[in-house]
Assembly symmetry: C2
Homo-oligomer: 373 residues x 2
């Protein structure tokens, strides 16, 4: 049951206080690659696509999906959350944790429950939240796997397995000519999308980030911010993902990303860091230590400013400037300073002004003792 | 003797490490008034003004002045510094300590000694440096007394005494009709100028500082920065002084300043602080604590930024937000972060880049332990 402020109660199937799998700071190339993501778009044969389906069709597709997902034994524990039973606070938490899209959280609200007045849901593998399946978003099923560091090959293997298990008891909409059919043409084919979240503070500082964006654009790759399409690159975090899937195999798409582009960008960032440390070490040290100074002293903090300073501290850690700090608590703070998580931690709905005060307090408390001068 | 870097040696008559009288943070209205200053312009009868005097005239005037100043028993200890024996580093220190003007420190240099190639000097009462007398600046004698807090009446009494003691053995250039004759017409008459250095961070934050400047201008008062004419108002410090003396008695000039203007400005600043603390306390607390955070963590600091943060800390102290801190060490840092003093503390000449590093180090060290979070 939800409390009066609409915050998740103690029986919530998801532990919103814990960091998610993609914040661990572990895995391959974790100095630059924050997380990897694979996503499959699938639709159930015999049902119209979500955007052209009647309410009854969608309710029916939801029921069929639920039954199948629950029967498929995808993970040891799987939380099933129907969005019409959630309120704004919980949906915000799910978006901030990258478990559902902003689009999935939006819609006409039910006046009685406060939930989204649509037959929509998300299934989340707990406790690591690596697997999530949105039901009735743009497609009937959007299967997502996220992991820490660069792990796209592993994610592909695992998401194929999840896909097979679901397909074992259901017919997907499929065309022998085009492949899996999806609501948006860019997903037709394998229906797969790969993405990585990169931490590129040095390329941002040198200004070379614009070159990376242009190069990626020329290769049909999208470069987006921390919260996807249209969001700014807070904390110097950039998502790079493939744009189209039609006519390409999963392996070919993966090769496009991991064969050339990713190693190049990771290499650029590393050499930019190296150059900055060699030739402008006092500038980097100044930025990193100022970030600590501000975060341990400020009484007012916006999300944006908190994330930018956390980014600098993360750079300091991976560059070896702060041997006493670890990456994971800093990454975790990137999530906890978000409005939804902050209100969850405070146990009440906060105005924007209150959030800035409470955010500063949270960050001070979490960094106290951890961060020296 | 000076060391190779041109820094004052251990036998220097002035202890450049110590704070000067005007940095003590004591005295009347010390929450707003940093220091008070009285200055007399005097010329010796029978000698041409400095700007129209030959080199021999000036050398002669210097010798006469020295003899008289030394004989007058003005203070227990009086240091006599001839500027042609000083180098750039020492002159910078004297300017930063407000013991000589920038103009007095400048001039054609002697290639052998590095000193100013002019017969110029300054006499400084030690150890408090409250009294200083520039010889052969714009006038033969510029007598200055500085004190902490608002103490103009006391300074007037003391500077009159100094004036009388000097005049007892020398003839001043004087006209029964105009009064004391000076090189610049604005000083003719009593030749006196009063000034106060005000700390006005709250009026700066509210933007009302512009109103104060306009009002002061309308009353023939000058508003200048920390280092006088043409200098910016670093650390939110503003000097207010009278502009003209002709036809007015010393008491009348003093009344103009202390009767209406000063109490009004002090009152404005206090009420602005009060209002900010009542209605925007989190904004003030944020600024004050951020200042501590940055100064205890930054690895690079410009003079300007250091002074601005020190200003905020000083505001925090006088507003009662930082009970563990005292004003005097913070005021002292306002002086020590200046380029000349910084180089003196480091014992060598520093490039601008080195100064930013050493300044940050100095401030961190001095604030360590003193300032909590």
């Amino acid at each position: 049951m939800n409390d009066p402020a609409g915050l998740p109660g103690p029986n919530s199937p998801i532990d919103y206080h814990a960091p998610t799998a993609w914040l661990l700071g572990t895995g391959e190339d974790a100095d630059v690659v924050m997380s990897s993501r694979a996503r499959l778009a699938r639709n159930i044969a015999g049902f119209p696509f979500v955007n052209s389906a009647s309410r009854d069709d969608r309710r029916h597709a939801l029921a069929v999906s639920r039954q199948r997902i629950m029967d498929a034994r995808l993970t040891k524990k799987l939380a099933w959350i129907e969005l019409h039973e959630t309120n704004h606070a919980v949906r915000t938490l799910l978006v901030e944790r990258h478990l559902i899209s902003r689009q999935h959280a939006k819609g006409k609200l039910n006046r009685t429950t406060g939930g989204v007045d649509e037959p929509r849901a998300v299934a989340v593998g707990t406790p690591d939240e690596a697997l999530s399946i949105m039901v009735n978003e743009e497609d009937h099923l959007r299967i997502q796997l996220i992991g820490s560091g660069l792990c796209l090959n592993d994610l592909l293997r695992r998401i194929d397995d999840v896909d097979d298990r679901i397909e074992a008891g259901i017919d997907y909409a499929f065309s022998p000519r085009f492949g899996y059919l999806t609501a948006c043409p860019t997903n037709v084919g394998t229906g797969i999308r790969f993405g990585v979240m990169l931490h590129l503070p040095a390329l941002k500082l040198t200004g070379d980030i614009e070159k990376v964006k242009r190069a990626a654009g020329g290769m049909s790759l999208a470069v987006r911010g921390f919260y996807g399409e249209g969001s700014d690159a807070s904390a110097d975090l950039y998502q790079i993902s493939n744009q189209t899937t039609l006519g390409k195999s999963e392996a070919a798409i993966l090769r496009e990303l991991t064969g050339e582009v990713l190693p190049a960008v990771i290499g650029y960032e590393r050499s930019a860091r190296q150059k900055l440390l060699e030739h402008r070490s006092e500038v980097i040290e100044d930025k990193v230590h100022r970030a600590i100074g501000v975060l341990t002293h400020a009484r007012l903090l916006s999300t944006e400013e908190a994330m930018d300073h956390l980014s600098m501290i993360r750079l300091g850690i991976v560059a070896g400037l702060m041997p006493e700090l670890e990456q994971q608590p800093i990454n975790h703070l990137l999530l906890m300073v978000q409005p939804g998580h902050l209100q969850m931690l405070c146990g009440r709905v906060l105005s924007q002004g209150e959030r800035r005060i409470e955010r500063a307090k949270l960050v001070r408390e979490r960094l106290a003792g951890v961060a020296g001068s």
